[in-house]
């Protein structure tokens, strides 16, 4: 018997996704497609009659705006929203802004493969010379972060290490108080929560790509252990496609 229900949603396509560029902490906006994905996700939650008491998101607009579209769809704009850098997407360091081809050209295919396959090897740092150093590292929204906290690059391990304290200290107590929680965030910060909830291995979490714009529901027992695999909300077609895509990921090895 589920003690709690938790809903996660990964934001949809951003303008940089469209251009196939490493986005990370760059504050790219949703593309028109991404906005549609968010609205569709909101509609799915509306159709299923979900109510929330508190929402969490990152400080990047693609996640925040996704949450706003959802809250608007379900008519719950008044629900409190908490934003934290700890739910930000993984910081891609020196790769931020590069597209796939540029990255391969700059660092070689072999190195790119290592970064893609590795849990704990970070990409090169974003140094002061980087095009986006000023606009990211010096942005006012990170003004309260200590030197230790502000990353210049992250491995997936690093991302998860700074996301989980927020999950444990801020989100879990709310769930345990019986608050119904919605988290709108990014592929890698959500991976951190999923890995933790399901007790997944490093290899397993790296294989998992969460679908975008689709509400992901966990039913949890009183110890916050999932009672079953994640469920997707949406019309039959959308849910089927998402489930198949996730199932196929474990098999394909590129």
């Amino acid at each position: 018997m589920a003690a709690y229900k938790l809903v996660l949603i990964r934001h949809g396509e951003s303008c940089w996704n469209q251009e196939n560029r490493f986005c990370g902490w760059f504050d790219a906006d949703l593309s028109k497609t991404g906005e549609q994905e968010a609205k569709r996700g909101g509609q799915a939650l509306k159709d299923a009659g979900y109510e929330f008491d508190v929402c969490y998101t990152s400080v990047l607009k693609r996640a925040i705006r996704t949450l706003w579209f959802v809250l608007d769809s379900i008519d719950q704009m008044w629900v409190p929203v908490h934003r934290s850098w700890r739910l930000n997407e993984r910081h891609y360091g020196g790769l931020t802004g590069l597209n796939k081809a540029e990255t391969a050209a700059k660092h070689g295919e072999a190195q790119v493969k290592i970064w893609r396959r590795s849990f704990d090897i970070p990409p090169p740092s974003m140094d002061e010379e980087h095009d986006f150093y000023q606009s990211i590292s010096k942005d006012r929204r990170y003004g309260d972060l200590t030197e230790d906290q502000l990353p210049s690059c992250e491995s997936l391990k690093d991302t998860i290490a700074r996301a989980l304290p927020y999950w444990n200290e801020e989100i879990v107590p709310q769930i345990k108080e019986g608050k119904r929680v919605l988290i709108a965030a990014h592929g890698n910060s959500l991976r951190g929560i999923v890995k933790h909830l399901e007790g997944m291995s490093e290899e397993a979490i790296m294989e998992l790509n969460l679908p975008t714009g689709i509400p992901i529901v966990y039913e949890l027992d009183k110890n916050l252990k999932p009672l079953g695999p994640m469920q997707f909300l949406g019309d039959e077609e959308t849910v089927k496609k998402a489930m198949e895509a996730v199932a196929a990921q474990g098999k394909a090895k590129k």
């Binding site: 008519d75 008044w78 934003r83």
Partner: protein, 235 residues
């Protein structure tokens, strides 16, 4: 000597503003024009280079939607937004849902002006038979909230935006500018126009409030709000 900057913003047009009906605690969203007003306001604030640290809104969708649109236009979606019922529009009791001009025809312009703008006259209370009673009370006040929650933020040096409603903003202005019970009746806030207040270290206004933007447009907006109380024959 001005130490702090505070912004007040009255949300723009909702569907019932268009129909000149008392909306109050009924939770309407912005009309297309209201969306545009919010967007234009955000654009103006961005052009003038303002940076917010924290935003306070009511728990009515139209003020929240306004805040979101302003933050979007300014690229400051990441700024914390705090919502409270204490910033809600004034509760108009049994008048909720009724048309202002019709009310003026029936009760006279003076009476309607008194209900809308006076300091301490309450409209007839809402009761359980009212068509909008269910909608309001099945859905899941001001100065304590101001003192306990907003003032500490200002004193920390944060630039605050309050995105709220005509009467909750007027109530705040009365407090900050020391406007008398009589004089407050003459104060009208236009929609979608940011109001900048500069405060000393005791949070009292050091100069007259500034309404930012094109001044002719602002005067027209004020007149538009005041004219809602003019009697129109019912059709």
């Amino acid at each position: 000597m001005s130490r702090y900057k505070l912004f007040l913003l009255r949300h723009g047009e909702g569907a019932w503003n268009k129909e000149n009906r008392f909306c109050s605690w009924v939770d309407q969203k912005l009309s297309d024009d209201g969306v545009k007003e919010a967007h234009d306001c955000g654009k103006l604030l961005r052009e003038q280079g303002y940076k917010f640290d924290i935003v306070f809104t009511s728990i009515l969708s139209r003020s929240i939607q306004t805040a979101w649109l302003v933050l979007e236009a300014m690229g400051q979606e990441w700024v914390p937004v705090v919502k409270s019922w204490r910033l809600n529009e004034r509760h108009y009791g049994a008048l909720i849902g009724l048309n202002r001009a019709e009310m003026a025809s029936v009760h006279g312009e003076e009476k309607v002006k008194l209900w809308r703008r006076s300091y301490d006259v309450t409209p007839p209370p809402i009761d359980v038979d009212h068509p909008y009673f269910r909608e309001i009370y099945n859905d899941r006040r001001l100065l304590p909230y101001w003192n306990n929650t907003v003032v500490p933020e200002i004193k920390e040096g944060r630039t605050v935006l309050i995105s709220a409603h005509g009467n909750s903003c007027r109530a705040l202005l009365k407090h900050l500018e020391g406007i008398s019970n009589e004089d407050i009746a003459g104060v009208t806030l236009p929609t979608g126009i940011p109001v900048l207040l500069e405060l000393d270290e005791n949070l009292r206004s050091v100069k007259p409030r500034q309404l930012l933007g094109d001044q002719a447009k602002i005067q027209a907006a004020i007149k538009k709000v005041e004219d809602q109380g003019k009697a129109k024959p019912s059709v």
